[in-house]
Amino acid sequence: MLTSDDIRNRTITEDGQRMLEKAEHDQVRTVWDRYQAQLPQCGFCELGLSCRNCAMGPCRIDPFGEGPQVGVCGADADIIVARNLGRMIAAGAASHSDHGRDLVEVLRQVAEGKAPGYQIREEGKLRALAAEFGISGDGRGKEAVALDLAEALEEEFGTRKKELTLVRRAPEQRRALWTKLGIMPRGIDRETSEMMHRTHMGVDNNWQSLLLHGLRNALSDGWGGSLIATEVSDILFGVPRPVHSKVNLGVLKTDQVNILLHGHNPIVSEMIAQAATDDDLVALAKAKGAAGINLAGICCTGNELLMRRGIPMAGNHLTTELALVTGAVEMMFVDYQCIMPALGQVAACYHTRMISTSDKAGFPRMEHHEFHPDNARELARKLVTEAIENYPRRVPGKVKIPVEPVDMMAGFSVEAIVAALGGTVQPLIDAIVAGKIRGAVGVVGCNNPKIRQDYGHVNLTRKLIAHDILVVDTGCAAVANARAGFKVAEAAALAGPGLREVCGALGIPPVLHMGSCVDNVRITMLAAALANALKMDISDLPLAAAAPEWYSEKAISIGCYAVASGIYTVLGPMPPVLGSKNVTQLLTEGLEKVVGATFAVEPDPDLAADLIIAHINRKRAGLGLS
């Protein structure tokens, strides 16, 4: 039996607390219960000291020095920890990059006229990106350009290049550094594939070179796979522009057909969003007694829809099960990544129908309907129809919408920020030089049941903006900060005097929503644009990143490409590296001399803010700024 203290210790969110009470009443098990059941978790794995890479093992290293200090093959703690971290990076980079590839495939099929329902919405961005790949657009239709661009982007995934094309956006000094270190990313799939090779038994047994390749693998994500995902999503679905919306479980409606869209890739959800506005389907919903069709997003699919369409946001990672506990969801669509396999079981307690949509992501107790560009439009209409038909099956006694939604602004793409600044980044540079904005920090990443939900994100962000540090955010962190009310223009009152003045002048919140987790590249592109405008390296600027509640392998890849790009990064939860003193020291100290940035780990958001503020002060001093 959960006490009210237990519930408060699980989440700071009011909607979450109310739904945890209801989950307890409805006897629904959630991620927090499963986490408790897993305790104590394996100490060897926590330290990164267990290796399952081959069948001579599994092996463990005794961190207290009494038991074995090497695995069966002879790998010591340094090698095992570095190999394990390398494979985490590879998994994260592969996830973002495969997501990017799926978008390139849609772009190709749009160009070939095989994807009804999809279109090229941003011809300007298409042509600009094509130009970066040396594709001429003169006198050619957008489809022809898109076909050549799709071809060129597919080549980025291969192994025929010396370096990825889009690294040219990085400052010259940074690119020279990557080349000198031998970590210039060559092909998106190549670096992941090479990491899997290096970490096979008997290949790379030098922990330093393993970690360097880890950075290269992460760069193939940050300046390759993720970047392509964001760029092509913008071309197909629109470049985000500032938009007003609402957030938390209060966005679900008691009198409407509620459809939730969960996952990461906008390919499916964009089609659902189109179908949900079709007149005949809206009419059907009304015929079934509903006031309309209400779409809401969750996790990063939600962020993609929020950024471009202003579709309201139901919650982040740890809210996914609780959204179903409202009893008010007719249908949830999932694509891939961060979708807990427990969701089908939770949905079974209510009338909710769960639909899995990707050929590469299956889940227990969900109905599988594969979306492909050629069938997406029709399948979306069919399933939205079924969602509407599910509305009469809702059990009113089981429905509870816990709170009123909170207002928010989103849609701050780099293009939108530059436009708000009047067409160049110079006003932002001026504000930084003048000290009105002391620096900028990307607060990103997931939720993790090891940390009270949103506590890390919200408290870190609150302290940073109070110290005149602009916060840009993505992913689950962005949802947390919106839910806390930081994303309305009035939230400028929470900022320090300098940041408050800038926000007031531009009518923007002190925390800018930059999108989904692949959209972390929007943050690095903004950093690169600032550095390029100043003819400096990214590592010279008063910037930092934080992932206060990270849990996923993707977050590890993001953290590594941020650090390799020169951005100091503070993690909340400890990654599994402490088993090796050498690896830990390299990540937290040694990398400063290698790439001009390091990791730090600090689960307490108050202390994490202090680390970041001190870092920004050091960087400002380095630039001769007060």
Binding site: P40, G43, L47, F64, E66
Partner: protein
């Protein structure tokens, strides 16, 4: 004086730790938890950096195709206590455990030789020996709390579990093998 036994105020015998060998998966988390429980910092992340590094008092061994954790049996008539020339190791009448007072230990390692189970180890520096103290400040010893499969149990729980398992087995056999018999609960 460094006293590694139980607080004197705590009266009554303390339950010993028993092992359900068939449950052990050999994960060795009991060893880690034991070393952490006997560290200065009491956290895994900091304990692995302490000098001297904290030592475990429980040992997972793999023998005869099986694996199992083993720890001091706290014998009622303990060979180690009998072998100890300074009474540093002694039978504690209140707790019923074999207790250790480091201040009296001269580091002769007689107890190491006397223990038939090999459960006493040389200490790294001072104290001169280390053995299970059954975590005097915890109700559940650290190893028991850390065991993910319930292979390690306190004596009372162990016996009750064993009895219930055996009775359940016999009851099922009686029902399945002799279907004509009335249920055991209803038999005269």
């Amino acid at each position: 004086m460094e006293y590694q036994g139980l607080p004197r105020s705590e009266a009554g015998p303390r339950e010993r730790v028993l092992v359900r060998i068939e449950r052990c998966v050999g994960c060795r988390n009991c060893e880690l938890a034991c070393a952490v429980a006997h560290s200065q910092s009491r956290t895994l992340a900091a304990a692995i950096r302490e000098e001297p590094r904290p030592q475990r008092r429980i040992y997972v061994e793999a023998v005869a195709e099986s694996r199992a954790p083993f720890l001091c049996r706290h014998c009622d008539d303990a060979p180690c206590a009998r072998a100890c020339p300074t009474r540093a190791l002694f039978q504690d009448s209140e707790s019923g455990l074999v207790a250790f007072e480091a201040a009296r230990c001269i580091g002769c390692h007689g107890c190491l030789m006397a223990c038939p189970f090999g459960m006493i180890q040389a200490g790294r520096g001072s104290p001169f020996i280390v053995k299970c103290d059954r975590c005097p400040d915890r109700d559940q010893p650290a190893c028991v709390a850390a065991c993910p499969t319930g292979a390690l149990l306190l004596e009372g729980a162990y016996l009750s579990m064993r009895r219930r398992d055996a009775i359940a087995r016999l009851t099922r056999a009686a029902r399945q093998g002799r279907a004509e018999l009335p249920p055991v609960e209803a038999s005269p």
